[in-house]
């Protein structure tokens, strides 16, 4: 039977400014429900800007185009409203918050869903996060620990659509395998699941290392603020690993001239 797929995310002609400078230009992107897409691209191409704009961080100003989440234009919604719609993020360099314990973030989730208390305790145990709970949010954590803490919070908040910014940067091989496992758990890809049962995701990765652990359905290469090309993640990553992003930039410039 044919699965009827809806698009969780639909971005049309998106232009975004940060501090008066245009970072994203006429960007289009569609992510159907249950798919995981990888967003590749050189540093400074606008990957993080796209993610921050989707979650609605202050300072990322939409000057053109649309972001539809599950068919709804979310431009007028603040971060809280977007988070409650089901958009979740794992940041590359999240802020530390002195005096605020990770436990208090969990307590907030539990206060709104008391029936989940036990499940959340079990998740903390299963992912060996207990020692993090009494520490200040993100304070004194190593690169790998920050990723784990971020992914753990997403496992707890269970957003419908998950964005991850460089879950594989600054992480050693051992931690990488843990992060890969957590990401698959988060996206419901550890077990044989039908596409509709999977969570939708967008994984930002410069190196593509995470894709050795997590299978993406599709990849996009971002070049200078827009999507240069899209396709099979393995093929794209293979080319990038052989020829570098320089070739992508040349290719994109050729395309724009034509």
């Amino acid at each position: 039977m044919e699965e009827s797929m809806t698009n969780i995310l639909e971005i049309k002609d998106l232009c975004v400014e940060v501090e008066g400078k245009e970072i994203l230009r006429d960007l289009d992107l569609i992510i159907p429900e249950g798919e995981v897409h990888a967003l590749l691209g050189p540093n400074g191409s606008g990957k993080t800007t796209l993610m921050m704009t989707i979650i609605g961080y202050p300072g990322y100003e939409i000057i053109g185009g649309q972001i539809l989440f599950n068919g709804e234009d979310i431009a007028a919604l603040d971060i809280t409203e977007r988070a409650r719609l089901g958009i979740g993020v794992s940041q590359q360099r999240p802020p530390t918050i002195a005096g605020v314990k990770l436990r208090q973030v969990l307590d907030f989730v539990i206060a709104n869903a008391p029936q989940r208390a036990q499940e959340i305790d079990e998740l903390a145990q299963a992912f060996q996060m207990e020692s993090f709970l009494e520490r200040d949010v993100n304070a004194g954590l190593s690169g790998g620990e920050i990723k784990r803490s971020e992914l753990f919070q997403l496992l707890i908040t269970r957003p419908r659509f998950v964005m991850m910014d460089e879950p594989d940067s600054g992480v050693d091989l051992e931690a990488m395998s843990v992060i890969g496992h957590m990401t698959n758990e988060l996206l419901a890809r550890n077990h044989a699941t039908r596409p509709k049962e999977r969570r939708t995701g967008l994984i930002i990765t410069h190196t593509g290392n995470i894709l050795d652990y997590v299978h993406a359905d599709r990849a996009h290469v971002m070049i200078e603020g827009c999507i240069g090309c899209s396709g099979n993640p393995h093929i794209l990553l293979d080319q990038i690993r052989k020829q570098g992003y320089e070739e992508c930039v040349r290719c994109e410039l050729r395309r724009r001239r034509e």
């Binding site: 961080y57 202050p58 971060i79 809280t80 988070a83 993020v89 002195a98 005096g99």
Partner: protein, 385 residues
């Protein structure tokens, strides 16, 4: 075992704390006074000018209205009264000294005694435009231990009053006094606490001051003399300032004992009004250590609002080790956004961050006090008048 003071002037009889009227009980509970007396080893309540209740419930603890104690013990006046706070310190102490009939509490914990629960003292104002003067003396004999909770508040609806409070603390060898003072005043109240503490060898003084509702004016500079070897003091001051209030809190500590140590931590959240964070540590003994830390969060300076941090150090001995730090900042927007991205509302996020700021590096707060801090965070986060 209970002792109810029987020597009473002008007031027919003292009542038990449970007889306090419910609306007053509610206010008192907000400053840490448990009217039912649960988890308390003693209760003293001063309502306006007369004691309502003075009840010590533990062996080794003596709790009396100060006037009764002065009558009972000649040595109190000779050896203690006005020794840690000079009567001629300023106009406010002079005013207290001139009272023909002093009000306040006398608390003595005898040698080696430890009260199982805190002793609570409530200084309560029910009428507008009055001046309440209080003189308290606390004596901890050798090896004694006491947690004293002082809750000061005005009855709901009372806007204006003056509170003058002299407190003298005498901490004997290896004794430990923890004094937690919680203030919740009407918006036009003026408060001038004057406190002096003398600590003998091995003794410890822990002072926590929390101002929950900002009065128009609070000016306080508690002084502590660490006279004995290894004596220590730790002050923590948590202030919420809002429009129209001036809150000036300090703390002088004289480190005279060998290896004595002092730590002052100021935390202030300003939603308007003027906040001064002071402190002067005077190192005058070999091996003494002192640190003062002022941290302020300026949410909304409002008109003429500010936080001014003046941490002070004075070293008189070459082997004194002394340090200070001070920082003032706003709430970081990326922290708010981060917590919002987990589903919190902006207000919930701000409250949590303020609470974290007030909690940071401060140990030893009971859950009740944590609840007070949460309340400050809530008030500050919501910008209540």
């Amino acid at each position: 075992m209970s002792k109810i003071s029987t020597v009473l002037r002008r007031v027919a009889k003292l009542i038990s704390p449970g007889q306090v009227e419910p609306p007053d009980a509610k206010v008192m509970s907000s400053v840490g006074i448990h009217i039912e007396g649960q988890d308390r080893s003693g209760t003293y309540i001063l309502r306006d000018f007369y004691p309502l209740c003075a009840l010590g419930q533990t062996d080794g603890l003596e709790l009396l209205p100060i006037a009764d104690a002065l009558e009972k013990y000649a040595w109190l006046r000779e050896k203690y009264y006005w020794q840690a706070v000079p009567a001629d310190l300023d106009e406010y102490t002079a005013r207290c000294a001139a009272e023909p009939e002093p009000q306040g509490y006398f608390v003595r914990v005898k040698k080696g005694a430890k009260t199982p629960f805190p002793v609570q003292a409530c200084l309560y104002i029910t009428q507008g435009n009055v001046t309440q003067t209080v003189h308290n003396v606390v004596i901890l004999e050798e090896d004694a231990e006491l947690h004293l909770i002082t809750g000061c508040a005005t009855r709901t609806g009372v806007r204006s009053a003056v509170h003058l409070g002299v407190s003298e603390h005498y901490i004997g060898r290896n004794a430990k006094l923890t004094n937690t003072m919680v203030h919740s005043w009407g918006p036009d109240v003026e408060v001038y606490p004057r406190s002096g503490t003398i600590v003998e060898a091995g003794g410890t003084f822990v002072s926590n001051y929390i101002s929950l509702r900002p009065a128009r004016s609070v000016q306080s500079n508690p002084r502590t003399w660490l006279n004995g070897e290894g004596a220590s003091a730790k002050y923590t001051t948590i202030i919420l300032g809002s429009r129209g209030s001036t809150i000036d809190t300090g703390g002088d500590v004289y480190l005279n004992g060998k290896n004595s140590s002092a730590e002052l931590a100021h935390r202030a959240v300003c939603t308007g009004g003027r906040i001064y964070q002071r402190g002067l540590l005077v190192g005058n003994a070999p091996g003494c250590r002192a640190h003062v830390d002022c941290a302020g969060m300026l949410l909304d300076a409002g008109e003429n609002g500010f936080i001014e941090a003046v941490p002070g150090l004075r070293a008189l001995h070459p082997e004194a080790r002394m340090s200070h730090e001070a920082s003032i900042g706003k709430i970081a927007p990326e922290q708010v956004a981060y917590l919002q991205s987990r589903g919190m509302s902006e207000r919930e996020a701000i409250s949590l961050i303020i609470r974290g700021f007030l909690d940071a590096d401060i140990e030893g707060f009971s859950p009740k006090l944590d609840a007070r801090i949460a309340e400050i965070a809530e008030l500050a986060g919501h910008g209540e008048e």
